[in-house]
């Protein structure tokens, strides 16, 4: 009896379904709340080759939903750690581990090697970067995301001809501005919700690869946890999508998807603190969180400029030449950075990577 006997006896799946999975490859982007359950089921089902992309490290607050990790893994790279855990469970699966964040160039190179891309990332820059690369390379994409008690997932499947097909930009043509849509760190989430959505994403991927079951492609499925309902929305071609999709790979490589992917204007806590000590009078550490947010940053000797008051109060930064912004996770500070760069093109302005919750932040232990 082999480890796949319960699925090969399924009428219609059989040995041929299993062979198709064994010869298939899936690249999972983000080993987080969506990626962990998706990875577990893809490996358990016997997908032959699995790539895992994640440049982040395991933190305590991940453990309610990122079920491949435990307390012993804190501080480890997520892609490497997930690969290690899964390899010990399923020695017959081949793993490729990518411990860096995706970039425009690396996505084009890496995606070509896989049959399906599964996007479980937690930010819009990556979602659009992945969508556009998949569209240009005509790679099937299983994408999903959550907000509090709701989740969305879509399987985009390119047709065999080279005609246009709908993609994420047909739903939302442009990235929402940074800071508009809260992620799990800001909005909160129970682990079961991304668990369910990640399994739905893996499930459509398995249907596609094995040819078993009915694939529900090009539809946005919205899961509502409170009412236990799943609603499908048909996605129609949107003329605005074509305006914003990069025309070809050259345009794509030069397209700016935002800070989360390229990280050009982010610095670490260590660097920010060190740089401030060089010229303290001209350097400001700026907390852009709202006044009620904890932990209090008073110990950092910083300027408080809540994002909601940025427009009216930004002049308090007039006398500083070097401005290092932080928030809870590093998302809102990136938005604030872009706003301030418009007003102060001559100043050096950076967003501190990972915000207060980053392991390097001296305030993290207070949280």
């Amino acid at each position: 009896m082999d480890r796949f006997s319960r699925q090969t006896i399924l009428p219609g799946f059989g040995n041929s379904g299993q062979d198709k999975l064994r010869n298939a490859s899936v690249l999972v982007i983000g080993a987080g709340g969506l990626g962990c359950p998706a990875l577990s089921y893809l490996c358990a089902a016997g997908v032959g080759t699995i790539g895992i992309v994640d440049g982040d490290v395991v933190e305590t607050s991940n453990l309610n939903r990122q079920i491949l990790f435990g307390v012993k893994d804190l501080g480890k790279n997520k892609a490497a750690c997930a690969g290690e855990t899964l390899q010990s469970q399923y020695p017959d699966v081949r793993f490729n581990i990518y411990t860096c964040m995706l970039t425009n160039v690396s996505s084009l190179q890496t995606f070509q090697e896989y049959d399906v891309i599964l996007d479980g990332s937690d930010n819009f820059p990556t979602r659009y970067l992945v969508n556009d690369a998949c569209y240009l390379l005509r790679k099937p994409l299983s994408t999903g995301a959550v907000f509090q008690n709701e989740g969305q997932f879509i399987f985009f499947c390119p047709p065999e001809t080279d005609e246009y097909y709908v993609n994420y930009r047909d739903v939302f043509p442009l990235q929402p501005p940074a800071g508009e849509v809260p992620d799990c760190n800001q909005a909160g989430v129970l682990g079961v919700l991304p668990g369910l959505i990640g399994i739905f994403m893996a499930s459509e991927t398995i249907k596609y690869l094995s040819g078993f079951g009915r694939l529900n492609a090009q539809k946005m499925h919205v899961y509502h946890w409170n009412s236990q309902s799943l609603v499908d929305f048909e996605i129609l071609p949107n003329p605005k999508a074509r305006m914003h999709l990069p025309e070809d790979c050259d345009v794509y490589i030069n397209q700016d998807y935002g800070q989360c992917c390229v990280a050009v204007s982010e610095i670490s806590w260590k660097e920010a603190i060190q740089l401030r000590s060089i010229d303290p009078a001209k350097t400001a550490l700026v907390d852009v969180r709202e006044v009620h947010e904890l932990p209090d940053s008073i110990l950092l000797n910083c300027v408080k400029l809540p994002l909601s008051q940025l427009d009216e109060k930004y002049q308090i930064l007039n006398s500083f030449q070097h401005i290092y912004l932080f928030c809870q996770t590093g998302q809102r500070s990136q938005y604030a950075m872009k706003q301030l760069m418009l007003r102060y093109p001559e100043k050096t302005i950076y967003s501190i990577q990972g915000g207060i919750l980053h392991p390097e932040s001296s305030l993290k232990s207070v949280n």
Partner: protein, 80 residues
């Protein structure tokens, strides 16, 4: 007929911002008019990214609606 209302289901952050999972609005002739009513009654929507759906299709152009049309506002999610 003048008293007829239409119901719009809200998802994600929109339900949180408007503190309700659905809205009852005065009847509109088409999706364009409905969006104008929504944005004037709830100015917070002007700064939010979302799509309108009618009968479970994402609406890309103005289309006629009636009291039986199933309407919803879908925002993008980013959490993972």
């Amino acid at each position: 007929m003048e008293n007829q209302h239409i119901k719009v289901r809200l998802f994600g952050l929109l339900a949180e911002l408007l503190q309700s999972e659905s809205l009852e609005l005065p009847m509109a002739q088409d999706t364009g008019e409905l969006l104008l009513i929504l944005e004037s009654k709830f100015p917070v929507l002007q700064n939010q990214t979302f799509v309108l759906t009618a009968d479970r299709r994402i609406v890309q152009t103005v289309m006629k609606i009636n009291h039986a049309t199933e309407l919803a506002l879908l925002p993008p999610f980013s959490g993972g």
